[in-house]
Structure formats: C-alpha cells, structure tokens
Symmetry: C2
Subunit: 246 residues, 2 copies
C-alpha cells in the first residue's frame, strides 16, 4: 500500500482510461507531471523565476546540476552536442514540464530556449530535503522518469524505423497530444523547422518537403509558420504507427 513503486502502479491504475492507445499513455504522463508539479510547489519559497531569451543557453551538458526547472511559458529544447558540431534534440519541453530533475552531479544534456521562456528554478539541495521528508515524492519522480523513459523509447523507434514523412507525422501527433488532449486540431509549432529536423534526425529541407507533402494530401494545413492544423488524424496515425494504408 504505502510501498514504494507499488504506489506508482496504483496511481497509474487509478486513472480511468481516457482514450485507447497512445493517447492514454500521454494522459498518464501528464497526470504524473501534475502530481510532481504539486510537490515542487511546496518549494516555492525557495524557488526563483528566471527568464531566458530565444536561443539562450539555460545550461550545458557537464554543468554542475544545481537546479531543476519548471517551465512557466515558452519552449525549451534538450539536446546533445557532438564534438564535430552535430546535435540531437532529444526532446522539447513545454509549459508545465519539469527538467533537470534526475541528473547526477552534472547535467547529461544541454537546455536551450527555443522561444523566450519563463522558468522557475528549484535548488537541488532543497529538492533533496523535500524528498527526504516526503518519501512519496520519490514515487512521483520515479513515475516521471519511467514516463520520460517510454517517451524516449518511442522516439528510438521513430529514429530507427521510420522514414521522413512518418517521422513528421509522429512528431505532429505527439505535439498535439501534449498540448490539447482532445481531438483538437490547432497546434502551436513554436520551434523552427531546423529544430524539428534536429529532433527527427533529418535535414531542414526534408522536413519542409514532408510538411508540404502532408499539406498537398490535405492531412494538415498551415495558417502560418508557427501554427498548424491537423485535418486528418486518421491518416497521420496510419503513417506514424506504421499501418500499411493501401
């Protein structure tokens, strides 16, 4: 009952299944995140609001991991840089997301502001104190880690198995699931095409062509550069989930 990871599983079960398939998982992800966010709120007296401008670096891989961050507004990219200048964006963080929480002494990746962002920073030592006092916080952290984990695993499949159009479809679907849970269609594409490319292991040109093709097929519409409408979720899912659509 009050055991450690079992609680995590109870939490996951307690949640009524909203939609079958992937959407459910994201629902759980958000659920855990909200719980975690609540925990962090008790640290508000020790937290600081920080602002970063577009393209500013929040921290670098290897920096001493003295703070965890929660996003108030804006978008952040988490990325790894290789010695020869290539980079891989492992994920984007949106408002409400927490990052830098599960590091060792040093951050394992860099964090950069995609847009102007407002963050709350929580000092490491206060976080440690918090979960020394409240063991159940550890469960939430574990839960969040496991979710993050599944997300990365899905992304491994994207990078390992999918072609350009499928990758873009996967990306758009996940973005839509993260922002509106409903079948809502309008997506805020706050990151540039180059960032999407770096996330999907493609070039900017290939991303553009894939988007254009989806537009031509009527699956999506782009009212402007940073906004996008999903007209045909079914077609996108067929692409993203690898169903042959003959």
């Amino acid at each position: 009952m009050s055991t450690m990871l079992s609680t995590l599983r109870v939490e996951a079960m307690a949640r009524a299944r909203p939609i079958p398939g992937r959407a459910m998982e994201d629902g759980e992800a958000r659920h855990h995140q909200i719980a975690l966010s609540e925990d962090l709120r008790t640290l508000d007296p020790f937290s600081t609001r920080v602002r970063f401008a577009r393209n500013e670096t929040i921290f670098c891989e290897g920096d001493s991991s003295d703070y965890a961050f929660k996003i108030i507004s804006g978008t952040v990219r988490l990325c790894a840089h290789t010695p020869d200048g290539r980079r891989q964006i492992s994920d984007f963080m949106l408002p409400g997301d927490v990052f830098g929480l599960m590091e060792r002494n040093e951050y394992g990746f860099s964090a950069e502001a995609v847009t102007d962002v407002m963050l709350v920073s929580y000092p490491r030592n206060k976080i440690d104190e918090l979960w020394a006092k409240k063991p159940q916080v550890v469960n939430r952290v574990l839960a969040a880690l496991v979710e993050h984990f599944l997300t990365m695993q899905r992304h491994l499949v994207v990078l390992g198995c999918q072609n350009a159009k499928e990758r873009v479809a996967s990306f758009l679907l996940r973005l839509s699931e993260r922002t509106q849970s409903g079948a809502g269609e309008r997506i805020d594409l706050s990151m540039g095409r180059q960032d999407i490319a770096s996330h999907l292991g493609l070039t900017i040109e290939t991303v553009c062509r894939a988007i254009s093709e989806l537009k031509r097929e009527g699956a999506i519409t782009t009212p402007n550069l940073h906004e996008l409408i999903l007209n045909n979720l079914g077609a996108l899912r067929a692409l993203a989930e690898g169903e042959s659509e003959d």
Copy 2:
C-alpha cells in the same frame, strides 16, 4: 546524507575516476548495477531460475509486469515491435544486467533471448516489499534508471546523427566497454548481424558492409562470426565520437 537522490550522487562521486571520457560513465553504470544486484540478492529465497532457448520470447510489450529479471548467462534483446512488423532493438542485456524492474503494470517493451539464456526472476511484490523495508534500494533503482537513461540518450545521438560506419563503431566500442573495462580487444558478438542492424537502424547488408570496411582498414579483425577483435581503438573512437580525422 540519508536523503534520497543525494545519496545517488554521493555514490557517483565516491567512485574514483578510472578512465577519462565514456569509459568512466560505464564504470559508474556497472557500479550501480552491482549495487542493485546486491540488493536483489536478498530476494534470492523468492527468486526462480528460468531458462529460455535462443529466440524464445521472455515477455511481450503489454504483458503484466509480474517479474523482474537478472541475467546469469546469455544475451537478451529488448525491443519494440511496430504494427507493420518493423522492430527496434533498444538495447541488449548481458550477464549481470537487470531488466523489467522499472515497469508500470505492463512491460513497455518485449524481451527475447538472443542466445540460450539463464535468468533469475524476482517477483514484483517481493521487490516492492524489499524497498518498502529498505529505502536506500530506491536510490539504487533511481541510479540505475538514470544510467539507463543516459545510455538511451547516447543511442538517440547514434540513430539521429551518425552514418553506418559510425554507428557500427559506436556499437562495438560500447560492447567492449561493457564486457571488459580494460583496453581489452576481444569482443563476444553473441547477437547476429540482423539484431545489430535492428539496433542501429540499418539493414543487415549495410552492417555487413560497414564491418567489412572496418576490417579492410585494419581497425578490427573477425576470427569468427561471433568474435571480434578491436585493433585500433583510436580510429574507432574517432569515428564514434565524430572527430574529423583528416
């Protein structure tokens, strides 16, 4: 001191730095794994030895996650299957490795025997009881999760940024670091070429060609199909870590 994640970080620090660069990280990974393995040993009375034959499925994605496993001997692949039959091997598990530990109700991936394997299975509920009694076990699990995490992140870079030869070089280096920590050269390539391909997001032919090319260049030697000698670690590292080698 006896706080939760801080302990994890103390453990990581306490370890003297063995070798610079990636090897250090793997050293820490092994360290955590050994600690975790020790914890599980207290569960031995409840554990069962299980044998699986080559290519047998240990569990499927979606199965109820009633057991965690530790490998005694043999190799296991963790993989995701897509509806249309493609698959992505997220990682290989070697003797000493533990898997299935951080699942929710259901496993998030499938596990299959690459070779004949001998496993120890630990019942979920006993694990829960263990870390209800010994909170420091949770730290080890967290530490292991974080390590696993960094591993996946590095693999994201491999899949997102590297070409075929670089991928194979990365794979061989990691394998060598996991098995012998020294500059040892002989690697046991227990998995088939097709499995390597599925792990690296390539086809079997491309993997073969990359290996052949590395052989031609003298970087490696293949005494037989399932054994491989690294002759030139420097060249392989240059490839894997993306240093321009003009």
